[in-house]
């Protein structure tokens, strides 16, 4: 029986396509979730560091929308599909020159989801072109409940919002080959700084044991606060996200052209970006990198050992009841389920919720012995991950209830230290890959003239101490793994 049935206009198809194209930059597949009043597309990237959610209002976005639950899907239907095949279906068709040809553009697009006992589970999209050609595509789908990332808005004390097109223009100044974006404010100058950089290293020296920053270049773009619709950010709070994700978001935000709002609390905690247009709400939850500067500073001040952890995810706080700490965690913290001391310049949000996040999470957590020890099996995140094979089984109602509530919270209940080390291993792998594939030491000097009201400034850094400490840390963490 047809469970879900909706019709898109030509414009709707292109909005749908834009949304999918944006998601495709994060992941290969998308979860479709239909309720009576809305259709939601969600995806979580493979490293589970970014979550995308597009919500389409049933009564405003679609020309027709009908959801009819059955026994299996009473009040919501969900499935997972390949984005690539959807992209080719919902692409726009060229209108052609009207003089000679009939218009080949899309007149309407009917989508039906057919499922039920004894039926093939298919998503059928029937596209009717204005010239009369009808194309219908039928795609198999996987019945898999979506995973939602959780974001606690109460906790996110920092927020700013800005016109998405303005922000998109800033993106032009991001240099090539950068990975990370540090957003911070300076109340004295009334500016918000967008600093992009990368900490990729390349190997040098006779034994390849000397690591040098690949691009010792920081590009800083200062935007006057007046450009923002709202800025309410703790002064000098550095929040770091992945540029790739940010770019993907901005490219789509510019199409939707609304006001882009962000909410975040502190490094190592998720950041939410959202914007909306008529009938469509776009939300992104990105995990932020544990703040680097704060860490390195702190290491120097506090513990010698800590300097070996150049780039851990920050918040170690293990217990759900413990308060989130600012940024620093070290090995000593692992036995103490209490938050590490909070960085002086950072505000501690009042929420007791504790999460741990790495921008590069463990490559293969389930297989690692360390992961086993972290006892994450009952942790609330990555619910479906536990049993890969189960996703092929018929959907079980009981399980479903559980899975219905599946949420990724980036909440580490295990030992923080171990968790913290995973990304470093991953990071080392990354570095290796880069050193193999990239050309040696290219120093890109990126200079942007002052543009009103945006100021760009480029810092060239020498070899920083980060790579070497990074290496030390890698060895340290490898050791740690070995030990386990």
């Amino acid at each position: 029986m047809v469970i879900l049935n909706f019709t898109l206009s030509e414009e709707g198809v292109s909005v749908f396509h834009d949304a999918l194209a944006c998601m495709y930059k994060f992941s290969d597949d998308v979860c479709l979730e239909a309720r009576r009043d809305k259709l939601t597309l969600t995806t979580l990237n493979i490293s589970k560091s970014a979550y995308v959610c597009f919500t389409f209002a049933a009564n405003r976005f679609f020309s027709r929308y009908h959801f009819e639950g059955n026994a299996q899907y009473r009040d919501r239907f969900f499935c997972q599909l390949y984005i690539r095949s959807l992209l080719s279906i919902f692409r726009s068709r060229q209108g052609g020159d009207s003089a000679r040809d009939k218009d080949a553009s899309i007149e309407r697009c009917d989508v039906a989801i057919d499922d039920g006992p004894g039926k093939k589970s298919r998503l059928i999209a029937r596209i009717s072109c204005r010239n009369g050609i009808t194309a219908s595509h039928s795609l198999p789908f996987e019945s898999k409940p979506p995973t939602h990332a959780k974001f606690e808005k109460d906790e996110a004390g920092n927020r700013w919002s800005i016109s998405s097109s303005t922000l998109r223009q800033l993106m032009d100044h991001f240099g090539p080959g950068i990975e990370l974006l540090d957003i911070n404010t300076d109340d004295d100058d009334h500016v918000v700084n967008f600093t992009c950089f990368t900490d990729k290293v390349q190997k040098r020296g006779p034994h390849g044991n000397e690591a040098v920053l690949k691009k010792p270049l920081h590009t800083n773009i200062s935007v006057e606060m007046a450009e923002f619709n709202e800025v309410e950010v703790q002064d000098k709070l550095h929040i770091i996200i992945s540029v790739k994700d940010f770019r993907a978001i901005l490219q789509h935000a510019q199409i939707i052209s609304g006001e882009l709002a962000t909410y975040y609390s502190e490094p190592g905690r998720p950041m939410k970006l959202s914007y909306s247009a008529d009938g469509i709400l776009c939300e992104f939850i990105l995990m932020t990198v544990g703040e680097q500067d704060a860490i390195t500073q702190k290491h120097k001040n506090t513990r010698a050992r800590a300097s070996k952890t150049p780039k851990p995810g920050s918040g170690p706080g293990p217990g759900p009841a413990s308060k989130p700490d600012g940024s620093v965690a070290n090995n000593e913290a692992k036995d103490v389920p209490k938050p590490a001391q909070k960085p002086p310049q950072q505000k501690t949000p009042p929420q007791p919720r504790q999460t741990q996040f790495e921008i590069r999470p463990p490559p293969i957590p389930p297989r690692s012995p360390v992961a086993a020890r972290t006892d994450r099996s009952d942790s609330p995140l990555f619910v479906e991950q536990g049993d890969e094979d189960r996703q092929w089984d018929p959907v079980d109602r009981e399980d479903e209830e559980e899975m219905d509530n599946a949420r990724v919270e980036w909440n580490a209940t295990g030992e923080p230290v171990l968790l913290r080390h995973f990304p470093l291993v991953a990071r080392k792998k990354m570095a290796n890959i880069h050193s193999r594939t990239r050309r040696p030491c290219e120093l890109a000097v990126y200079w942007q003239d002052r543009l009103c009201p945006v100021m760009s400034q480029t810092d060239l850094l020498g070899d920083s101490s980060q790579p070497s400490s990074f290496l030390r840390h890698v060895s340290c963490c490898l050791l740690c793994l070995f030990f386990c």
Binding site: Y82, S85, I89, N131, G132, I133, T134, A135, S136
Partner: protein
Amino acid sequence: MSQPTQDAGPPLFRAVASSTRPLYQLLKAVGFTNKIHVEITPEGLRFSADHARVMQGAAHWNKNLFASYTTNLPPAAGNGDDDDPEPEPVSFQISLPAFLETLQIFGVADVAARQARSDIDPLVRGNPRMNHQHRGGNGSDAFSHQTLHGGGFASSSSNGTCILSYPSDGGPFSIILEEAGVKTTCNLTTYLPEMPEDIPFDIDDLSFKVIMQARYLLDALAEVGSINPERLTIVVSRKEPYLRFRTSGSHSGAGGPGVESTVDFRRGRDLLETFSVRAVERAKGERRWSQTFKFDTIKAATEAMRIASKVSLRGDGQGVLSMQFMVEVEGAGGAGGGVPGGGAGLSFLDFRFVPYATDGDEETDTEGEGDDVDMSEA
């Protein structure tokens, strides 16, 4: 400077074109092989490409694409006389990628740029005239006829010349391109003709015939091709949906197995200018023609669909599919009004496809019955 070196007698073939663009486009449409079979006839050049004996494509360069066209074909039936209808055609094979590369050596895309340049470059315009004078020396019959072309040609906005010649059997095929004082001579090695027989297409046993704009065919194939399919099934039936293309995803495709795409003309019946079906499928008691082809071979004709204005799809009783494309080309290299009766010439591209062998129970049966139904539009 444009005089080709001639050692012994007039070349077997010599033609001058002012623009390589239509030549390139037509040839590119059959550009799915490495070696292409060339046949020189007094009426033009015929190019045949073959892919694994399941697909064949043929392009024609009609002689009115050229400002001048001369052949001195072997005396089997006359001595290089164009008026003689039966000279022995000369055939050989050449490397198609190299040929295509040569033809676009000055770029075929930037016509506008070249036209702009031609206004200030009398040298370029001068060259064609010289070619004609040279050809006059050959004393061919075509000359007097073609002079008219030359006149209109030289005074039009043409600016480059392309001289094709085949001096003698077994010799290199030579292409001389001149533009803005730059002269490029390319000699392509010719190979022994090795053209397999044509795929048999029984024109007396047509099962269906559909004529439509090539664009719709292109759109339809783009639609079903998005899942990177392996096979394409074409169904033609008298009743709805009339004409249907169906593919299913391959394992390597975007959608993976289980994905199916269908395009039909149920509502787009009026897009089909001519539509006649004569096939009978006994098993299902309905008149339809249904054959499955390798999608990649059909896709190889995409370039033809792009440049053609109309396409005629025909299927015969054995399931062989013929696609004939009508391409409107600027006649005689943009000579414009100078060509008597030439104008925008029509050129045709022919493709034939062999279907997958069908299972016994699906075998189409076209014997006897099935009176011709012509539902072509008024």
